[in-house]
């Protein structure tokens, strides 16, 4: 596999690796993928006044999966919920120059963003249980 410079950069210097308190009311968590498929992404956002103040990720997966989630956290920070919702996997594919066999990594990142946003919004609605998609 030949990687783009951007994938290598995110792999070598991943942005925003870590975890936020998943039980905090201002934190939304998305966990997508499955170990037997070779990819699991955890993506978390912390929201203040409708704006994403912080974003963290942890990923089990190939270099492209790590880069996709790292890039996603970079893009999420400073965006409003509405702006975050607009992030599409094709944007990630383009930015990282992912080859066709790695497009699923970008799809996983988009799913993780959506799930994290939904989790946050559910918490705001006062839902007691975390969301399941």
């Amino acid at each position: 596999m030949v990687y783009s410079d951007k994938v290598i950069d995110h792999y070598e210097n991943p942005r925003n690796v870590g975890s936020l308190d998943k039980d905090a009311m201002d934190v939304g968590t998305g966990i997508v993928g499955a170990p037997e498929c070779g990819d699991v992404m955890k993506l978390q956002i912390q929201v203040e006044g409708g704006v994403i103040k912080d974003a963290k990720f942890k990923t089990f997966g190939c270099g492209s999966a790590i880069a996709s989630s790292s890039l996603a956290t970079e893009w999420l920070k400073g965006r409003t919920i509405a702006e975050a919702t607009a992030i599409r996997n094709v944007d990630i594919v383009e930015e990282l120059a992912l080859p066709p066999v790695k497009i699923h990594c970008s799809v996983l990142a988009e799913d993780a963003i959506k799930q994290a946003l939904a989790d946050y919004q559910n918490k705001q609605k006062g839902a007691s249980a975390p969301s399941e998609d």
């Binding site: 596999m1 991943p14 690796v17 966990i31 499955a34 170990p35 699991v40 942890k58 990923t59 799809v107």
Partner: protein, 406 residues
């Protein structure tokens, strides 16, 4: 940018040509360049003589004779000739073949091709160490079974099948036995008589010889194995494999085998010690590692190991300058993890987390230590960003988590 220290630990994929092998081959390119099939001039006689000497020494090296060696383009062709050639010749006896689930594709795929033509193939399963059940094999052999094909050493996990015991069962039941010895020729003791091997495939490039040349041992007596040609032409190799012989390749193959056998036991002990050193370093430096295959009965050069919670391709990406293989789906064209590891029943997540290290003649302790250090550092880095590692450290049993799937 090329990293300063390149370490090749993929000797089960291929090996560099030993300089002594190359030296032996060189005169056969432009000085003694004759066609071994040219019967009426000195150029041809010279090439034929070189080939026949190589054939004789290689036949003797496995307990057979030179007349039982057919030269091919490599082990894939040898396996194809053995399976398709025997099947075609023995149709009157029956249409049943036996193999096992961890064989190389060069055995499985010709078998599957025969299935399309109405043959029945029994694929024996393996246990968690990669071994077939010999009683299951015995029970699977029928009146109409024409061939059993079980490899000697597995190319991914290194597990050594007891081919002597398998050969004895096949002989007793009256069926032919083929073994793919690509990973073991020149490394493990092979005696086609004592082991009752009727057909044996091997390749030069796995033993410090050139790419593009292989061999097939075809037993000539007790029983005489007959093979229908699958390549037609000038009737070379007693009609079993038409095509002008790769004379330099054949000379190189014989020299490579001679060098392997000259010091076989000491070489294997040295490799096993280095392999054990690598395994011990990795096991001491990391938790949650699993050795795949049979730790007590495997190729001396081979270490297949899974690092829980990290994915194989991302590991390869971090191990700059270390050439190894992974069973991860992301490193294969099919996007499926290694079918060999899956056959062991270890679970897809551990298959995705596997790395195959394979050592060889030119591997040094320094290289092993460097590879171990870099592997440990990469695993630690990736575990720090692995959600699975985090969950496991929190005491969550990952097998009970309901994953979304993808």
């Amino acid at each position: 940018m090329k990293p300063s220290l390149q370490v090749y630990l993929d000797y089960q994929a291929t090996t560099p040509v030993d300089p002594r092998v190359l030296e032996a081959m060189l005169p056969w390119f432009s000085q003694s360049f004759g066609n071994a099939a040219s019967r009426n001039h000195a150029f041809g006689w010279e090439a034929e003589k070189g080939v026949e000497e190589a054939r004789k020494s290689m036949g003797a090296a496995i307990g057979g004779s030179g007349r039982e060696i057919v030269f091919t383009s490599g082990a894939t062709e040898s396996n194809n000739i053995a399976i398709l050639g025997v099947a075609k010749m023995y149709v009157p006896k029956g249409k049943h073949l036996i193999t096992c689930s961890t064989e190389h594709k060069a055995v499985l795929d010709p078998m599957h091709a025969l299935e399309q033509d109405g043959w029945e193939v029994t694929v024996l399963g393996v246990n968690e160490k990669g071994h077939i059940d010999l009683e299951e094999l015995r029970a699977a052999i029928r009146e109409d079974t024409v061939l059993v094909s079980i490899m000697h050493g597995n190319n991914e996990i290194g597990t050594l099948h007891p081919i002597g015991a398998i050969g004895a069962i096949c002989r007793e039941k009256g069926t032919l036995f083929h073994t793919d010895a690509t990973q073991t020729l020149g490394k493990e003791a092979i005696d086609v008589q004592a082991m009752n091997i009727d057909l044996l495939s091997a390749s030069a490039h796995k033993i410090y010889g050139p790419k593009g040349v292989g061999m097939l041992y075809v037993r000539r007596r007790n029983p005489r194995v007959r093979i229908a040609a699958i390549m037609h032409g000038g009737g070379h190799e007693r009609g079993m494999r038409s095509g002008t012989l790769n004379v330099p390749g054949v000379i190189g193959f014989a020299k490579a085998l001679e060098l392997c056998l000259a010091n076989r036991e000491a070489d294997q002990q040295r490799l096993a010690a280095l392999r054990d050193r690598l395994q011990q370093r990795l096991s001491a430096g990391l938790t949650h590692v699993h050795i795949n295959g049979d730790p007590d009965n495997r190729l001396a050069c081979s270490l297949n190991i899974s690092f829980e919670f990290v994915e194989g391709e991302s590991m390869l990406m971090g191990m700059h300058g270390i050439a190894v293989s992974s069973g991860s789906a992301c490193t294969s064209a099919s996007l499926e993890p290694s079918y060999v590891l899956r056959a062991l029943g270890i679970g897809d997540e551990l298959a995705h987390s596997s790395i195959r290290f394979s050592l060889g003649r030119f591997t040094t302790a320094e290289e092993v230590d460097h590879a171990a250090d870099l592997t440990i550092a990469t695993v630690l880095k990736l575990r720090a960003m692995s959600p699975l590692y985090e969950m496991a450290m929190e005491g969550i049993d990952l097998s009970t988590v309901k994953w979304g799937g993808h």
